[in-house]
Amino acid sequence: MALPQELEALTQAFSGHGVDEKSLISILGKWHPEETKTFRKGTPHFFIDDERQFERWNDERVRLLKHEFMRFKNAVVLWAMHPWERDARLIKEALKKGAKRHEAYGVIVEIACTRSSEELLGARRAYHSLFDHSIEEDVASYIHGNDRKLLVALVSAYRYEGSKLKDDTAKSEAKTLAGAIKNADKKLIVEDDEVIRILSTRSKHHLKSVYKHYKEISGKHLDEDITDLRLKETVQCLCTPHTYFAKLLDATLKIEVDKNTKKAPTRVIVTRADVDMKEIKNEYHKLFGGSLSNKIEEVANGNYKDFLLTLIARGG
């Protein structure tokens, strides 16, 4: 390969999700010192021109690079983990991160609402073993804002999993939600007791029926009419999980996103590979045109990329 192309390939090897181990070995491993110097001079976002006449690695970049090298390792560790331990650790991490960055609490909503009753229960058991506390007590004591009531209720849920439901109850609860949304400027909807009751105690079948009735009553989808982020995520995860996951993957499988956002594809793919990845792939295709695997090819590198592609190919 000629030098300009090699420079380009190497820059690629370091950017996006994960690193391209093969290129690093075949290019960087073979270069003479002058070629490496040319690389350092030609990549000002990786190397800074130091006043003492040498090209210095940008510290922040090295830190970020460490995350990229670890992306494959983290995916493997997460994949091998028991699903209960996975979810317990993800929730604990979200609680810690969420103090500074509230979006992290979205992971708690995601886990509480997309897992089955028994899976969520298992996560609660694992959490006892790992952290000597219950999820609900930690969520209740770490979180102080408007979200607390909703999140505690969601992680405590042990929903009926059957398909029996009363259609008129679903219809009247859709009306209740519509009323709460209309009043949202007077009364904070994320703290509305009736809204929390419906979303955190009813079965998923029942809620899908509520979702349907809401559309009939108000013309729009329930999550579209809600502005509160956590509540929106709650409805999406409970009623249209495949759409939620497809959209999340599209938003996070990008090259220029921050390191926290970059964790989402690993989490989604590892946790859904053996559950409903097929449906998520279909939904992704429906919403965005291309295939999920093409998208991963575009933005991910090396072993990490191969691992993700292998995981999403399981189950067809």
Binding site: L121, R125, H128, A153, S156, G162, K164, S203
Partner: protein, 312 residues
């Protein structure tokens, strides 16, 4: 310790046949029903039901419902069900009849796994979750308290945190003293902390303020929320003393509250009714059997006494 007296060797087939005989003809031989069922553990009663079904293609439970009546029938019906199914039924009846105590008892006295088993049994029987029914039938702070209590899956280990015990004892004390309870915090503490942690917190409370939290929470406030809160504290702090109080109140009440008497005796007979009996005697100077015998009658009374461990 349990109070019921049951043989280790028994024949479910023989029992089923004897029960069948008791049902034959006009009326029912209640004595036989009492003397068999009152002397069988739950796993044995289950086998008798299976044997009865195989022999006579009939559900023993339904047959008992139609043969017996009144308080006696209610007691036998509850007794013959599987323990977790029974609790699900008791919870459902309580929700419908607005009896908060039962919900608080189940969520605060039972272990996390026992509470979970009741919730599963509730799914199976009623095709809904216990939480959604409790939520649907309550409002405001009472709803928040009861739904939180019922939803919880407490950490079941012994780890406690002294710093937390200290700070949360303070929060509880302020809330009780001020009477304008900071409901959110009180609900959070009582419904999410582990039993061990709560006991540590209650002990800290006693050390700091001289009196037990249960005593201090006995306010005059009689609205649903405060009553349920006191019940929750009492149930967590000292469940056996709580049951003694329930029995005492049920017996003292004019006309006697048979539902409460039945509930305590039937649900605890195979668990800790012996301890409850001893505590009852200590606190009331009269044996529980005597008090029950004085205020109940007929077959119902005989059945209760057998469950209480009476020698025949």
């Amino acid at each position: 310790m349990a109070t019921i007296v049951a043989p280790l060797n028994f024949s479910p087939v023989e029992d089923a046949e004897a029960l069948r005989k008791a049902f034959k003809g006009w009326g029912t031989d209640e004595k036989t029903v009492i003397s068999i069922l009152g002397h069988r553990y739950s796993y044995q009663r289950k086998q008798i039901r299976q044997a009865y079904e195989e022999l006579y293609q009939e559900d023993l439970v339904k047959r008992l419902e139609s043969e017996l009546s009144g308080d006696f029938e209610k007691a036998v019906y509850r007794w013959i069900l599987d323990p977790t199914d029974r609790d699900a039924v008791l919870a459902h009846v309580a929700i419908k009849s607005d009896n908060k105590d039962v919900i608080v008892e189940i969520s605060c006295i039972y272990s996390p796994e026992e509470l979970l088993a009741v919730k599963r049994a509730y799914h199976n029987r009623y095709k809904r979750s216990l939480e959604e029914d409790v939520a649907r039938h309550t409002t405001g702070d009472l709803r928040k308290l009861l739904v939180s209590l019922v939803s919880t899956f407490r950490y079941g280990g012994d780890e406690t945190n002294a710093r937390l015990a200290n700070s949360e004892a303070e929060i509880l004390h302020d809330a009780i003293k001020d009477k304008k309870l900071n409901h959110e915090e009180v609900i959070r503490i009582l419904s999410t902390r582990s039993k061990s942690q709560l006991i540590a917190t209650f002990n800290r409370y006693r050390d700091d303020h001289g009196s037990s939290i249960t005593k201090h929470s006995l306010g005059k406030s009689s609205d649903g929320f405060h009553k349920a809160l006191r019940t929750a504290i009492h149930c967590i702090d000292d469940p056996k003393k709580y049951y003694v109080k329930v029995l005492r109140n049920a017996i003292k009440k004019f006309g006697a509250d048979e539902d409460a008497i039945t509930r305590v005796i039937v649900t605890r007979a195979e668990k800790d009714l012996k301890d409850i009996k001893e505590l009852y005697l200590k606190r009331n100077s009269v044996p529980l059997e005597q008090a029950v015998a004085k205020d109940t009658h007929g077959d119902y009374k005989d059945f209760l006494l057998i469950l209480l461990g009476k020698d025949e």
